[in-house]
């Protein structure tokens, strides 16, 4: 299971995952430990949201459940909240206001 120096509210679903999943809600400004590094939670996050466990370079795949769930839009650092702003689908653009500018369909 998770490393000892990781906040117990972070759940690791599969050994090779690049993200943890929040077991509970956390408030903005809370400090959490991620693999020995202290990070400050930028915004209030609910159960099920993802926190980066390892660095992911822009264009690399983000792994959850031991499988790719999309590619990093920008470089992701451990402790970052991983969501629409830094992760995009490799399959089809996610429905959101950002979808219109998603480059997934037009670049190769």
């Amino acid at each position: 299971m998770a490393q000892s120096a990781t906040d117990p509210r972070l759940l690791l679903l599969s050994p090779g995952d690049s993200v943890y999943v929040l077991r509970d809600q956390v408030a903005a400004g809370e400090v959490m430990e991620v693999k020995g590094h202290r990070i400050t939670v930028p915004v209030a996050l609910g159960l099920g949201h993802k926190i980066a466990r390892v660095p992911v370079a822009a264009g690399e795949r983000v792994i959850k459940y031991g499988a790719p769930i999309g590619s990093a839009r920008i470089d992701i650092a451990p402790g970052d909240h991983v969501h629409l702003h830094n992760l995009r689908s490799d399959y089809t653009p996610t429905h959101s206001r950002d979808a219109a500018s998603d480059k997934g369909k037009t670049t190769t």
């Binding site: 117990p8 759940l11 609910g46 992760l87 689908s89 399959y91 089809t92």
Partner: protein, 413 residues
């Protein structure tokens, strides 16, 4: 929150030590229950069937097809269900003028060696006299079935299905992965496991295809999900909703993976359609989306329609993962209720068999809960009842569909 991993308090047995027992059937399969199916062949016979089964609700389970117009899929499903290994005798209840081929159904059941009786309400004097005749027959068969001997059964002889329903944000991170661990343990022990709902696998095609036993099967798996995507698109359904993003899900493949986790990590041995009996142990995807044009509305209008289709393919029981708290069970084959959300578990514990919500509270690992589910399946096959069985849940639903037969690439080994 406790740092220690809490020992399992609800764990009844260990699978290895449990003595599984089954009721032997003429086709070589074994049942983990020995119930009477009371089968109505049109909605007009439903009330009479329900009253007949009411004489002994534990022994007699009502199943049926409501439509008056013929449908080959419904005929096949009813034939498979009436010869399901958990069924020991069949009472057929017909109004008389519906188009369902009752003679053929009775012949299929008789050829399986099971006692079968057909009552036609229009020929039997109406509601009261049909109910009286049916109840007498059910009472006599129930006594015989209760005294029927069992034989030892191996885990490898089990067929287990899985569904999720009443899902919330916890389903994909606790209950579904734990069900997947249980599936891996069952497949490793030689059992047959079935997962389905291709409409919830959109975005996982490549990941799933990579697990296929052969490249040709991989192509069939991809095609089944593409068919589901087209079908749901025609119905205007199936996109990623804004609420999913609020729950922390970012992409369609991530959402689908949450449901897909129920399938575990084993190689995929084949693709089947409802009513196809898997030829040997392994993991099978069931394609539940009708072939051809969109004609019948949603492929499965509720969770029980999915359970019924896996039963028709021989499932002895179903792993049912729920976050918000579904309370259903099933006729014929027990349902194991796996609570994904710990708060819901506390509210509805009388309806739940397994508390996978402990994973969120740091009290158990996914692997531990998966082991508990495996043990619970073994306990069911040793005579223990699930919560929904004890509570008398026997939901059943079957509607119109049409399918083409599966191709040779679907069952490669």
């Amino acid at each position: 929150m406790s740092d220690t991993i809490e020992a399992d308090t609800r764990q009844p047995t260990h699978g290895k030590a449990t003595t599984l027992r089954g009721y032997p059937r003429s086709d070589g399969r074994k049942g983990i229950r020995n119930v009477i199916a009371v089968a109505y062949l049109v909605e007009c016979a439903h009330h009479v069937a329900r009253e007949i089964a009411g004489i002994d609700r534990a022994a007699a389970h009502v199943i049926g097809f409501p439509g008056c117009f013929p449908n080959p899929y419904a005929q096949k499903m009813m034939e498979r269900l009436c010869t399901h290994p958990n069924v020991g005798a069949v009472m057929i209840v017909s109004l008389g003028c519906e188009s369902f081929d009752r003679e053929r159904l009775a012949r299929v059941v008789a050829e399986s060696g099971r006692p079968v009786e057909t009552l036609v309400i229009q020929n039997a004097g109406g509601t009261r006299s049909t109910i009286a005749a049916g109840q007498g027959w059910v009472r006599a068969r129930a006594a015989e079935l209760a005294a029927a001997p069992t034989v030892p059964m191996d885990v490898s002889e089990l067929v287990v299905g899985t569904v999720c329903g009443g899902s919330d944000g916890t389903s994909g991170i606790t209950g579904n992965p734990a069900a997947g661990v249980a599936f891996d343990k069952l497949v490793a022990a030689g059992a047959t496991c079935i997962f389905e709902e291709t409409g919830e696998l959109i975005g996982c095609e490549e990941i799933m295809a990579a697990r296929a036993a052969t490249p040709a099967l991989a192509e069939e798996l991809r095609a089944s999900v593409e068919k589901a995507a087209r079908y749901y698109a025609t119905l205007g359904f199936g996109s990623f909703a804004a609420g999913n993003a609020e729950g922390g899900l970012t992409t369609i493949e991530e959402k689908s993976l949450g449901a897909y986790m129920k399938s575990g990590q084993s190689p995929i041995s084949g693709l089947i359609k409802p009513g196809d009996i898997p030829p040997r142990g392994g993991l099978y995807l069931m394609d539940v989306v009708p072939d051809g044009e969109v004609r019948f509305g949603f492929p499965n209008i509720s969770d029980n329609a999915e359970i019924v289709e896996m039963m028709a393919s021989g499932a002895h029981c179903t792993l049912f993962v729920t976050g918000r708290g579904s309370v259903v069970g099933s006729a014929l084959a027990p349902v194991i209720k796996i609570a994904a959300n710990p708060h819901m578990y506390r509210r509805l514990s009388e309806d739940m068999d397994i508390n996978a919500g402990r994973i969120l509270e740091g009290e158990a690992s996914v692997a531990e809960v998966g082991g508990e589910i495996f043990d619970f399946v073994c306990a069911l096959a040793s005579g223990q009842q699930s919560a929904s069985e004890v509570l008398g849940h026997q939901e059943f639903i079957l509607t119109y569909k049409s399918f083409e037969p599966i191709g040779p690439a679907c069952l490669p080994v």
